[in-house]
């Protein structure tokens, strides 16, 4: 390396150090807790691992003093409310929440705000006004699926919809977006709808059950994530043509897509929320503690995979896991700036 190069490197190290120093001065003694309601699927496991990785580094770098993750065993509102009360008593400066219910935790969240604790909710958000929300535009996600299909299938045709878990608002939102997209594009008809509970085996079972009664010309399957591979398996078991199945960023879905792409040029797209959104919530909480002015409602970007970046994303996805992105402080600042 020549001398000027080294000088630039040195200068950037100094600047980088200074930025680190700035954060260190303000939040290095702050403690952030993660209150998580559920850990029983691969998405949540990836979410917790991302949290561990990014916050572990942040603690080692002295950005914050602690960033501990707590998960409730039973996915119950009362249990998580009690957990939040414990976290307040333990003196955390900020609590990052993935909530069991949008309204059920409002009492505990209000208590936390009252005690001067910063509350940032993400994925499963809370409606209490004093908390920050990092929400997903699930409706747009559903609509994007139909818009993509409208692009690929100018003729339109029959669609099969795989929904999530009945009674959960995420399911209603995505489905509402899908139906909105169908109404707007005006060339599709949803001829069947089943609940796949976001689980591969449940989706496979439900699709296998309804398929025989559906018309032969299903051109597309709109999904909610975690159910695409199951749908493909169910179609595979029949002698129907494989429709365009929208995928949800799971490794098995992407692997199957890649196999089909190589074998017969199969085209589709895949969209979901990266589990690493927990790290975005962490940095937002850190920024609030740092005194930054942050709007109460922020939106998470989707992680969308298309035909041309499939290989790259598949290579970055852990075998058996979910395509993931871990967010940095700069990403969080960009999201905050975008919302202002």
């Amino acid at each position: 390396m020549n001398a000027p190069g080294r000088a630039i490197l040195l200068a950037s190290t100094v600047v980088g150090g200074l930025i680190g120093q700035a954060a260190l001065a303000d939040t290095s003694d702050k403690r952030i807790a993660l209150s998580n309601n559920y850990a029983g699927n691969s998405w949540r496991q990836a979410m917790l691992r991302s949290w561990e990785k990014v916050t572990g580094q942040a603690v080692a770098d002295g950005v914050v003093a602690a960033a501990d993750a707590f998960t409730t065993a039973e996915n119950q509102v009362t249990e998580q409310a009690a957990q939040i009360q414990n976290l307040i008593l333990q003196g955390y400066d900020a609590i990052v929440i993935n909530a069991a219910s949008p309204e059920g935790l409002n009492g505990a969240v209000a208590e936390a705000c009252g005690a001067g604790v910063v509350v940032v909710s993400f994925d499963g958000i809370v409606t209490e006004p004093c908390a920050w929300r990092i929400a997903v535009d699930f409706k747009q996600m559903g609509k994007d699926e139909v818009l993509y299909l409208a692009d690929q299938l100018p003729e339109g045709g029959n669609l099969l919809e795989i929904r999530g878990l009945a009674g959960v608002f995420v399911d209603d939102e995505i489905s509402a977006g899908i139906h909105e997209g169908v109404a707007e594009t005006g060339k599709f008809e949803i001829v069947g709808s089943v609940h796949g509970n976001w689980a591969q085996d449940v989706a496979q079972k439900a699709v296998a059950g309804i398929l025989p009664s559906l018309p032969d010309d299903i051109v597309g399957v709109v999904t909610q994530g975690g159910d695409g591979y199951g749908a493909a398996q169910a179609f595979n078991a029949t002698n129907r043509d494989m429709p365009i199945i929208v995928m949800g960023n799971r490794h098995d879905e992407l692997t199957w897509w890649k196999e089909q792409k190589d074998a017969n040029g199969y085209e589709t797209m895949s969209v979901s929320i990266a589990p690493g959104v927990s790290t975005l919530a962490f940095w937002v909480a850190q920024q609030i503690l740092d005194g930054a002015e942050v709007p109460k409602d922020l939106t998470v970007p989707f992680l969308r995979i298309d035909q041309d970046n499939l290989e790259e994303n598949l290579a970055n996805t852990e075998a058996g896991g979910v395509a993931n992105v871990e967010y940095t402080l700069e990403d969080a600042q960009a999201v905050i700036a975008g919302a202002k």
């Binding site: 850990a39 029983g40 699927n41 691969s42 949540r44 496991q45 990836a46 691992r49 065993a73 929904r163 009945a166 009674g167 069947g192 709808s193 089943v194 609940h195 509970n197 689980a199 591969q200 085996d201 449940v202 496979q204 079972k205 439900a206 296998a208 059950g209 309804i210 398929l211 025989p212 009664s213 559906l214 591979y229 199951g230 398996q233 078991a237 029949t238 799971r250 490794h251 098995d252 852990e318 075998a319 058996g320 896991g321």
Partner: protein
């Protein structure tokens, strides 16, 4: 004819037939054979766990195994990860899944017998441990099953799923075990009156231990086959088998109070449960309507089945 009407398993089969016919009428017969084939495949998984649950429930009030989902998940996860897609490891994976199931059964029974914890609480709390063990073992990553094993679980023989044929044979063995062996008669005797059974010379605790171990071993087997069938083990794969395993047993005409069981009803009820959801999906019923109707129809069949039993 009246003898047939008194059979407790009749109602589940009638229910399955009625629901299937209703679906076929709605679709004008289109695809009704394929629906049946799908019902046989998915019903087979229900029957495997329900067979074990039936023996446990027959032991009498309070006996139930709530650790089935966690046991399935743990067995499926460990087996898939160990095999890691290698065909030569299929037998080892099977042995591991069965051994994990048996181990779960031993732990369950130990909690019930040694610590004197009621079975509902013992199996529910132990399931937390098994579920956590499954999470710890592979952090929810989905490992693909060996190709040959996956092919076996999805294979068909003259249109009939091979796995359904295997499980029918298993059910026949279960029927013989229940009605023709000292063990099976012992289970029924214990369910009717544990003290009387004990005084009559039935080795009550030995039979209870065997029953809990068998139930968990079957759950391990189901976890192994289901993960092979659906492309890998997932942490939430067993979830719906908790209530369905009990529902299939009860709808099948086995007394929830114990002491009275039958195997043919399990298959009828398993087909009924699958066909019912398929029918409501085909009708395009919304989720709310579907859940309400599922509840009402299940209650209807149970009432009809127990009404039939009162006639005897």
């Amino acid at each position: 004819m009246t003898a047939l009407l008194r059979k407790p398993w009749l109602w589940a089969w009638l229910g399955a037939l009625a629901v299937w016919l209703a679906t076929a009428t709605f679709t004008h017969g289109r695809g009704s054979a394929e629906v049946l084939s799908a019902a046989l495949t998915f019903g087979a998984f229900f029957v495997i766990v329900a067979l074990g649950q039936m023996f446990v429930i027959t032991l009498g009030p309070g006996n139930v195994d709530l650790s089935i989902p966690a046991c399935m998940t743990l067995a499926g996860t460990v087996a898939m990860k160990t095999m890691d897609g290698a065909a030569s490891m299929i037998p080892l994976g099977l042995v591991l899944a069965l051994a994990i199931g048996a181990g779960v059964g031993v732990i369950n029974y130990a909690l019930i017998r040694l610590l004197r914890i009621p079975p509902i609480i013992a199996t529910l709390s132990s399931s937390f441990i098994f579920q956590s063990a499954a999470i710890w073992w592979n952090r929810g990553l989905r490992v693909k099953p060996p190709e040959a094993l996956a092919d076996f679980t999805t294979a068909k023989l003259a249109g009939v799923p091979v796995i359904a044929i295997a499980v029918v044979l298993m059910a026949v063995a279960g029927h013989v075990l229940l009605t023709r062996t000292i063990y099976g008669r012992g289970v029924v005797a214990i369910g009717q009156n544990m003290r009387a059974a004990h005084l009559a010379g039935v080795r009550v605790e030995r039979i209870r231990a065997a029953t809990y171990i068998m139930c968990a071993t079957l759950a391990g087997l189901c976890g192994y086959l289901l993960s092979a069938f659906s492309g890998g083990a997932a942490l939430n794969m067993g979830e719906e088998y908790l209530l369905s395993s009990i529902a299939v047993v009860v709808i099948g005409g086995t007394s929830v109070a114990g002491g009275f069981a039958n195997v043919p009803g399990l298959w009828g009820a398993a087909l009924f449960m699958f066909l019912l959801v398929t029918m409501l999906n085909t009708f395009g019923a919304g989720a709310g309507v579907r859940l309400v109707l599922t509840g009402l129809i299940i209650i209807g069949v149970i009432v009809a089945a127990s009404g039939g039993k009162r006639g005897t």
